[in-house]
Symmetry: C2
Subunit: 411 residues, 2 copies
């Protein structure tokens, strides 16, 4: 089964918006075992949209058209698909009524233009999921199919996961279910992980039970994706659960979470379980540690606050760091203790260092000290972060949170 993606929008060609939708859909199709060999961007032009969709339909079994389903005169995906199908658009009054009620319930003005979204090519059906005001479409053409989904990412995602991919799998006669889980790791290189898992991958190659794949995600660490195929979801999930245990046994605490978990959500969960609160003292990161923690709903149960001591005087005045050099192990320790004390938290974390562009206190750019203070522990460690100012800051944040994670886990 081959499915192409056609992304609609002149703004995509002009580079005003990066087409992340096609990338996401490509990833989901791959996970579902469906090939996507071409992905095309085309502007809001009827003739070019029609010829692009036609070509895609010649080359593949299915086409997902993304974007151009809005209410304005620019939004002509419905017209283009109707032309490819050789049919007319039919206005569905019950959909129009539904859209009108949506607008009213959100207190937004409804205009006659919005009724264009109730136009459906003859022979097509609408997608059940409709998180916005644009219905998605399933448009069969002989034994092939065109799907139309909105360009708004969350609307597109809900429709692709809820209707498009299951429908593609049904059409492909796929009775097998493919499931996957991502194990998120920090602290080991890709070649290091590959070496640790080499023997296990050999076993899997032989048995064909599941596959392991590595995926770099920059400052967020490396992902190990476990994928399994089985007769039903229950069986696939069982294979994945067993394989996850094998991988965890091998990688140990390099694994910090799964799927959508982040380092900060994991750290907050660990502290919440123990009923501990957290205070942070930040220097070169300027507030990034706190900002990432506070991005997680419910952070307030754990995260009390930060002192962003960007200037040395603030370190001395508000955190009680002894006057002197501030890019040192001693300063990192004192900052962590100060955060713990003045923010009245169970655990204090601190980061101080040189983000660049210039060196500081004779220390090269990238030098960072991470500090941690918790009952019975007052510790600091040196690290050298790679990259430019931004990467140094980002790496400092995740290394600091990872230090806390490992300390909490090992007691």
């Amino acid at each position: 089964m081959r499915c192409e993606i056609v992304a609609i929008g002149t703004e995509l060609l002009l580079g005003q918006i990066v087409d992340t939708n096609s990338s996401w859909m490509g990833g989901q199709l791959a996970l579902a075992g469906i090939d996507s060999l071409y992905q095309t961007k085309v502007g809001d032009n009827l003739g070019r949209m029609v010829s692009t969709i036609q070509l895609a339909l010649e080359r593949s079994d299915a086409v997902i058209v993304c974007g151009g389903l809005g209410p304005t005169q620019d939004d002509i995906t419905r017209e283009a698909i109707a032309q490819v199908m050789g049919v007319s658009l039919i206005r569905h009054d019950h959909i129009g009524e539904h859209i009108r009620r949506l607008f009213e319930s959100r207190g937004r003005e409804f205009t006659q233009n919005n009724l264009r979204q109730a136009d459906v090519p003859e022979g097509a059906t609408t997608i059940a999921e409709m998180p916005g005001t644009a219905p998605g479409l399933v448009c069969p053409i002989e034994d092939k199919v065109i799907y139309a989904v909105p360009g708004v990412p969350y609307e597109m995602r809900e429709m692709v996961l809820g209707t498009v991919i299951p429908d593609l799998q049904r059409r492909a006669g796929m009775t097998a279910v493919i499931r996957s889980r991502v194990l998120r790791t920090w602290g080991q290189s890709e070649s290091g992980l590959a070496e640790m898992l080499a023997a296990r991958i050999e076993v899997l190659d032989r048995t064909g039970l599941a596959t392991l794949a590595f995926q770099a995600s920059g400052v967020e660490g490396l992902k190990v994706r476990i994928t399994a195929k089985a007769a039903d979801a229950l069986a696939a999930d069982a294979i994945i659960a067993e394989e996850e245990q094998h991988v965890r046994d091998i990688l140990g605490s390099y694994v910090f979470g799964i799927d959508e978990q982040t380092m900060e959500s994991v750290v907050l969960d660990l502290l919440r379980e123990r009923g501990w609160t957290l205070g942070v003292a930040e220097s070169l990161t300027g507030g990034l540690v706190g900002a990432r923690l506070a991005a997680i709903p419910g952070a307030s149960e754990v995260f009390r606050g930060s002192v962003v001591a960007y200037s040395s005087e603030v370190k001395f005045d508000l955190l009680g760091v002894p006057e002197g050099p501030v890019v040192t192990e001693a300063a990192a320790k004192a900052m962590a203790e100060g955060a713990r004390k003045y923010l009245k938290a169970d655990v204090g974390l601190a980061v101080t260092g040189v983000a660049g562009p210039a060196e500081q206190e004779g220390q090269p750019v990238g030098t960072v000290y991470l500090g941690i203070a918790m009952p019975g522990i007052s510790d600091a460690r040196w690290a050298r972060m790679p990259g430019d100012r931004n990467r140094i800051r980002e790496y400092s944040v995740i290394n600091l949170l990872n230090l806390l994670r490992r300390r909490v886990l090992t007691g």
Copy 2:
């Protein structure tokens, strides 16, 4: 002149990498006055690459092929272009020698595979810019042309700006120079800006001197792009400078910067000019205000630090906010004054509010109070931010910085 873009790489189709290169090239082509009507992604497959490039060359005058120029067996863009041209690949020994020296000078191991990068289709020339080890190619086919550039963004950019776009313009017989400048605005809607500038746009439509275009950039505000075409760069720059003055006269302080300036860089510059320092008290933003300021090199001259008072007790203890409700005008004022006092800064800024998901102190999600304290001024204002938790936080940051900007400018 029409130029298509073909991005090469199975990893692009699988969504492992988002194709930002095509977006960037699309933007540059548009600025140079060259149409790009289709952009296609295709995997590392010779047959599909050849047919995709052929189709692009039928529809357009030129094609930029991006990616697949590396040294491994997967990198077959050279082969695909040679096949489209109907010629052989010829190994250029002097390029091979150049690549070998590059490897030696960087202390990297040179293998025979790397010599594949010295293969050039008969009749093609290499691009002068070569920041990496992969030469770019200019491959004429009758009166049309295929360019090949590497997928590594900085290598691609240097070649596109240095050779591809000038060559396209020469082929199109463009003797005119096109220049543009972006004015960045905050605080007015797109329709509001359009209304304010309507009369000016009418004048420009009549005279054809320059064009104005709007571009939304989400929480970073709206951009107004001025583009001018003239016989040479000097003349184009003069038109732009004059038009910038017209637009600034009309939009006033909605304009906060130009081109690569950000709200935080502008605010830091304004304070630096006055010799003022800044302290911040943050609640729902968790440290984002400080993080954005500290991202700018040289921020330390101005930015002293923040107190991230995520829990109410930290507001009372470290910022001297009177005990009581904290999502209020009075609390925002007290936080700003506390930031100014305890961080020993000339200016104090504060933000408190409800990021959600739940309401707080009976105030709905999105309620935010912004506070400012500076000599002779102690003020706070209410705002209602739209969107989810993240957008509320991001909007709060830029609104707070914009409040400071306007206060500093009006004295």
